[in-house]
C-alpha cells in the first residue's frame, strides 16, 4: 500500500524507480483537496462537466488518486490547458502527472483508440487526419495546392529511431 493512501492524501500510485523521468514531483503529494483547480467558477477544469465528477470527487483527485492511473481511461480527457497548474495554491502540477500517465499508458498499449489511430496516422503519413477525396476536391475547387507526402519518409525514420514504429507494430500484433 502506498504511503500516501495510509495518511489520506489524494495520490495513491506506487512510486517506481523511473518516476523521476515521469515528472512525478513531490509537489503532487501535497494536494490538499482544496478543489480550486476544478470548482472555482470561470477558472475550472472543463472535464468537471462530466457527470462522474463533483466538488468532493474532482477530476484531478480521480486522476491523482487512481490505483493504476495509466489504466484510467479518464486521463485522455485532459486537454493540457494547464489551468489546474496555474490556480493551484500549492504548486501541484496535475497536468504534468496526467501527461506522464498518458505516456505510460501509451507505452503499455492502453491508449485511447482515437489517439492510437491519430498516432498511427502521423507515424505512417505525417498527417494526423487522413487526406480524403473530399478534402482533395475542396482544395482543388479553392485553387489551393494539393497536399503532398513530403514528410512521410522522415517521420517514419524518426519513429523507427525512437522505437514508436516498433511499439505500434507490437500493439497491432497484440490486437490480432
Amino acid at each position: 500500500m502506498a504511503f500516501s493512501s495510509v495518511i489520506g492524501l489524494v495520490i495513491r500510485v506506487e512510486y517506481l524507480s523511473e518516476d523521476e523521468s515521469l515528472s512525478l514531483k513531490e509537489a503532487s503529494e501535497i494536494c490538499l483537496k482544496c478543489a480550486v483547480c476544478c470548482v472555482v467558477k470561470n477558472h475550472f477544469c472543463h472535464v468537471q462537466f462530466d457527470g462522474q465528477f463533483d466538488a468532493k470527487n474532482t477530476y484531478v483527485y480521480e486522476c491523482l488518486g487512481a490505483e493504476d492511473p495509466s489504466k484510467n481511461p479518464n486521463i485522455w480527457m485532459c486537454v493540457s490547458c494547464h489551468k489546474c497548474e496555474e490556480v493551484c495554491p500549492y504548486e501541484v502540477s496535475p497536468v504534468e502527472f496526467i501527461e506522464s500517465m498518458k505516456a505510460r499508458a501509451f507505452e503499455m498499449g492502453h491508449a485511447h483508440p482515437m489517439i492510437l489511430g491519430e498516432v498511427e496516422n502521423i507515424a505512417s503519413s505525417g498527417y494526423a487526419f487522413p487526406l480524403t477525396a473530399s478534402s482533395r476536391r475542396q482544395r482543388e475547387q479553392l485553387g489551393l495546392e494539393p497536399l503532398g507526402y513530403g514528410a512521410t519518409e522522415d517521420v517514419r525514420t524518426i519513429s523507427e529511431k525512437t522505437g514508436l514504429a516498433q511499439r505500434l507494430l507490437r500493439y497491432k500484433e497484440a490486437k490480432v
Partner: protein, 296 residues
Amino acid sequence: MRYAFFKGCFLPVRLPHIEKISRNVLEELGVRLYDVEGFSCCPEPVGFYSSDKLTGTAIAARNISLVEDEGIDLLTLCNGCTYTLKQVNSALKENDELKTRVNEILADTDHQFKGTIKIKHFATVLVEDLGLERVAKKVVNPIEGLKVAGHTGCHIVSPPEIMRFDDPFDPVVLDRMVEVLGAEPADYEFKTLCCGWTLSNYGDREAGYKLLGAKLGAMRDAGSDCIATICPQCFYQFDTGQALAVRKLNLGFKLPVLFYLQLLALSMGYSLEDIGYRRHRMRDPVFELKLNEALA
C-alpha cells in the same frame, strides 16, 4: 515581413476555405507567406505529443529545422501547432542534452535543430509584428453594431511563461483585435473555458455537449451575435460540434462562428461568399442580416 507558413494538418484537410481566406488577408496586410516543402503534423499536442514526448519533440524539431534552413520565422494558424512547436523550440534551446539526443535521432533525415528562429501564431504577428494600427488601416467596412464573443482557446495562453500571448484567466488580446474591426467584444461568463473538443472526442460526448451548451448560453446571454476564434479546432467544435449540441440540448438558438481572419476579411471588403461561409454548419439568417446591415 516574411514568414514560413506552417499550415498544420487540421486546417488544410478539414477547413481549406479558411486556409484560402487567411492567405489572401495576410498577403493584403503585407505579411508574405512562404510555403516550405516537407512539413508534417506539428505533432498534435493532446494525443501525440503527450503520449510520446521524445518522438513528438523530434518531429517538431524536424519541422522547425526546415524553416531554419530558410532563415525566417514560422507563422502558424493554429493554437495547437503553436503550443507544440513553441514548447519544443523552447525546450531544445534551453536543454543542450535534449538537443543533442534529438539531433542524433534526426541525423538520418539530414536535418538538425539549431535554435535560430521564433514560432509565431498569426495573432501575435498581427498584434506585435504588424501592429493593430496597421490592421485598422485596412478596415474599409467596419462591422459596427455586431457583438462578438471572442474565444481565445487554451493552448495559445498556457503555459504563459512559454506562450507569452495573453493572461490565461483574463484574456483581452482577441477582444482588442475584434474592436479594431469596429465590432463590440462580448464580456461573457465561462470566457476561459475550453471549447470541449477533447472532452467530446476522448471522453463523454454528452459531457462535451453540456459544456458547449453552457458556454454558448453564456455567449448568448451576453448579447453575442457570433463567435470569433483563432484556432481551427475550436472553430470546428463551435461549428460542427454546435450543430450536434443544438439537436441534443434543444438549444433553440444558433451562434455562427467565424475564424478571426474571416471576420477581418469581411471588414476589408470581402463578402460572406468570399470567406467560405456557405461551408459552415452554423449559418443563421438573423446574423447574416445584421452583418449585411453593418457592412452596408
